[in-house]
């Protein structure tokens, strides 16, 4: 008995020590040909493994694409850009350590954000401690701005009200066509929960009955059981709070198995990841699935068209296959470029002060103008939908949108 307990204990302790040894690995990439002037070092913590690895890879591509384009145009202040990335394994703790390393050990001149609000909030605190600006593209949750740090600037859409176009569209439907019930499963993440809670509050106010609301840990092994519970409710609308593709694909598979096809299926993230999303759910199980965002590969924005062309030239694929994370990261670089050029400096204090002046900047995602909290007030919320393997803008109506596929097509089309 004792020996078995001791063995179990030793196994447990050793396993814990092993788990603790998981460490971040680093990589760096040069922005282009060397010049005589010392390059500007820009650092970021990115998820190259773990839950957000697909997003992290896309962000890395976006940052690298921006650096390549900017270096080709002469760099920043005549100096080449050198990017340094550290892998955070999708862990907030590792992300904070990485930013300390970037600032104190790597001595980067500027920092740019990681992927997800979950990692951005603690990372911004570290950057603030050292008076660094943190321009970021994937930290739009209220929790990022709740601490009221003056150094964080999110170039993307604030997430809290990102589902508003979908809610307004439901409100615009005649009573006879308006879905009567909705289910609201959401992962326990600062990015997803505020969006889903907002949608629940607004839709129920419109008279749509909430038949399911549960917060779940985003672990793939639990998805099927939760999706089956949702399917059993037969809600007309499913608003899924997801941060990553596996959650959306898990729900999709379980819905198909349960012969359940909601009239509206919208996820907070996942379907915006282009080819990676299609790879996970298949080319026949995406029709009608929606996602809120501020950008899509077919955006008419000239800067966006140029970036998409660059991206396809380098990585191949189609415009619909370009991950929205690429545009978010690229926008970070563009905003940083404009701040550096406007201040003629890489002084973080000057950049912070400039970005707080209420100036309107331009990015591939559209205009950027920050409020005192660092939220982008100029961003416009759109809703996109997969229609016959094309990712198209459907909401708000007009302004380049095509008609919403409603009710969504059956699975397997």
């Amino acid at each position: 008995m004792i020996s078995h307990r001791a063995r179990f204990l030793s196994v447990g302790i050793t396993a814990a020590v092993l788990a603790a040894t998981l460490a971040a690995c680093s990589s760096s990439s040069s922005g282009g040909k060397s010049h005589n002037k010392k390059p500007i070092l820009i650092g970021a913590s990115l998820s190259q493994s773990g839950q957000f690895s697909a997003d992290g890879q896309a962000f890395k591509r976006g940052y690298e694409l921006w650096a390549k384009d900017q270096n080709a145009a002469g760099g920043l202040l005549g100096r080449q850009i050198h990017l340094t990335f550290l892998n955070d394994n999708s862990s907030p703790t590792t992300a904070t350590t990485n930013y300390q390393t970037l600032i104190n050990v790597k001595h980067v001149d500027l920092t740019i954000g990681p992927f997800s609000s979950l990692l951005t909030a603690p990372s911004a605190t570290v950057a603030h401690r050292y008076n660094y600006a943190l321009v970021e593209g994937a930290g739009g949750a209220p929790s990022v701005f709740a601490t009221k740090l003056n150094n964080v600037f999110d170039v993307s859409l604030p997430v809290a009200a990102s589902l508003l176009p979908m809610i307004n569209w439901v409100a615009s439907l005649p009573a006879s066509k308006r879905p009567a019930t909705a289910a609201f499963p959401t992962s326990n993440d600062p990015f997803t929960q505020p969006q889903v809670q907002f949608a629940k509050q607004k839709l129920t106010a419109l008279g749509v009955k909430s038949v399911y609301y549960k917060v779940f840990p985003e672990e793939p092994t639990q998805i099927k059981g939760i999706a089956d519970q949702v399917a059993a409710k037969k809600a007309a609308i499913v608003v899924l709070g997801a941060t990553a593709i596996p959650t959306v694909s898990g729900f999709t598979q379980a819905f198909i198995q349960a012969h359940y096809n909601p009239k509206v299926f919208i996820a907070t993230a996942g379907p915006d990841q282009g080819a990676a999303y299609l790879k996970a759910v298949g080319h026949y199980n995406n029709d009608g699935v929606m996602v809120p965002n501020a950008w899509f590969g077919g955006s008419p924005n000239p800067q966006s068209k140029e970036m998409v062309a660059d991206y396809i030239a380098k990585y191949h694929g189609t415009a619909s296959g370009v991950n929205a994370d690429v545009a978010e990261a690229y926008s970070v670089g563009q905003v940083l470029t404009q701040a550096v050029e406007a201040t003629h400096s890489i002084s973080n204090a000057k950049i912070i002060a400039y970005l707080h002046q209420g100036v309107t900047l331009q990015s591939v995602q559209g205009p950027v103008r920050f409020n005192a909290l660092g939220e982008n007030l100029a961003a416009t919320a759109f809703v996109f939908q997969w229609q016959k393997n094309n990712f198209v803008q459907v909401l708000p109506p007009g302004t380049g949108s095509v008609a919403v596929e409603f009710p969504k097509a059956p699975w397997g089309m």
């Binding site: 008995m1 020996s3 078995h4 307990r5 063995r7 179990f8 030793s10 196994v11 050793t14 396993a15 092993l18 190259q48 493994s49 773990g50 839950q51 690895s53 697909a54 992290g56 890879q57 326990n188 549960k214 917060v215 779940f216 840990p217 672990e219 793939p220 092994t221 639990q222 099927k224 059981g225 939760i226 089956d228 519970q229 059993a232 990553a244 593709i245 596996p246 694909s249 898990g250 598979q253 198909i256 198995q257 349960a258 012969h259 990676a276 790879k279 996970a280 759910v281 298949g282 199980n285 699975w411 397997g412």
Partner: protein
């Protein structure tokens, strides 16, 4: 009530898949006293093999088991020969953790190189189709997983208790020195057992890949669950792994109905409570494990 029954159905079907993935882990520990931390990544590797056969060679994943099972068997024998056989002495169990962790890291790195970090999946028709019985939709892939689990566990049981090789395995489980003295080639038994354990994982990996989107990181989430299943069932007990997997996954699914955020905590709370009452696990036999 319908929700509760749905959770039980999901728990039983999902639990069988976990038992299939955990069978190799408990078999290997039973014979060799090795905690194979690499089991999680081996499941993922098997899923990637099925993915590669399905997507690139258009071979149905189920049919592909004719290729992946022997391939994983050979890999298992190679891992035992290259890494595990070298472990000697009193610290063997603890050292096996480190060595198998190193194996896991090597395989994970190779998978990153080969497939990248973007999650992938494969959806053969039976992964999305289901049969409607008594008001419940039972996905074919889970029924296949249940069948494979039953077949694999029965085959392991028959091998252990109805064959000459099984007698050698059991003798090795009870006392390696005595087994060696009566002429059993303990090294050969260990290599074959490790190979069989990893080969069974091929089936678990195929079902895992058809029911989940995965990337090389997916092994970490798996190994913690697989370890807790084999510890709860009783290290070395095949039947224990089945009972523990069904019990724990069903408990988790039932908790999901009320409070999904508590489901994982309950999963591990059950493990701790059972071990406090019965430190050898549900079906573990201390005497059989004494070396």
């Amino acid at each position: 009530m319908a929700q509760f029954l749905q959770a039980v159905v999901d728990g039983v079907l999902g639990g069988a898949v976990y038992a299939l993935m955990a069978a190799g882990l408990t078999l290997i520990f039973g014979v060799m006293d090795i905690i194979n931390i690499a089991q999680g990544i081996l499941v993922v590797l098997a899923a990637y093999l099925s993915y590669a056969l399905s997507v690139h060679l258009h071979i149905d994943p189920l049919l592909g088991l004719l290729i992946t099972v022997p391939a994983m068997f050979v890999l298992g024998v190679a891992i035992e020969w290259a890494f595990m056989r070298r472990l000697r002495g009193r610290e063997r169990v603890a050292m096996s953790l480190l060595v198998s962790y190193a194996v896991a890291v090597i395989i994970e790195g190779a998978l990153y190189q080969a497939f990248g970090s973007t999650p992938v999946g494969y959806l053969p028709s039976y992964a999305i189709k289901s049969v409607h019985i008594f008001g419940f939709y039972l996905p074919y892939i889970y029924l296949i997983g249940f069948g494979l689990a039953a077949a694999a566990l029965a085959a392991i049981y028959l091998m252990l208790y109805r064959t000459k090789f099984g007698r050698s395995v059991r003798a090795t489980m009870q006392d390696k020195v005595a087994a060696r003295l009566v002429g059993i080639n303990v090294d050969r038994v260990a290599a074959l057992t490790f190979g069989i354990g990893v080969a069974v994982t091929a089936a678990g990996g195929m079902v895992f890949g058809a029911t989940n989107t995965f990337n090389p990181d997916s092994g970490y989430d798996l190994i913690s669950r697989l370890l807790s299943i084999v510890i709860l069932g009783g290290l070395g007990s095949i039947a224990g792994a089945l009972v523990a997997a069904l019990f724990m996954v069903t408990a988790e699914e039932i908790v999901n109905i009320w409070q999904p955020t508590w489901a994982t905590a309950v999963y591990y709370a059950v493990l701790v409570i059972v071990l406090l009452v019965r430190p050898t696990g549900l079906l573990g036999k201390r005497e059989a494990r004494a070396q």
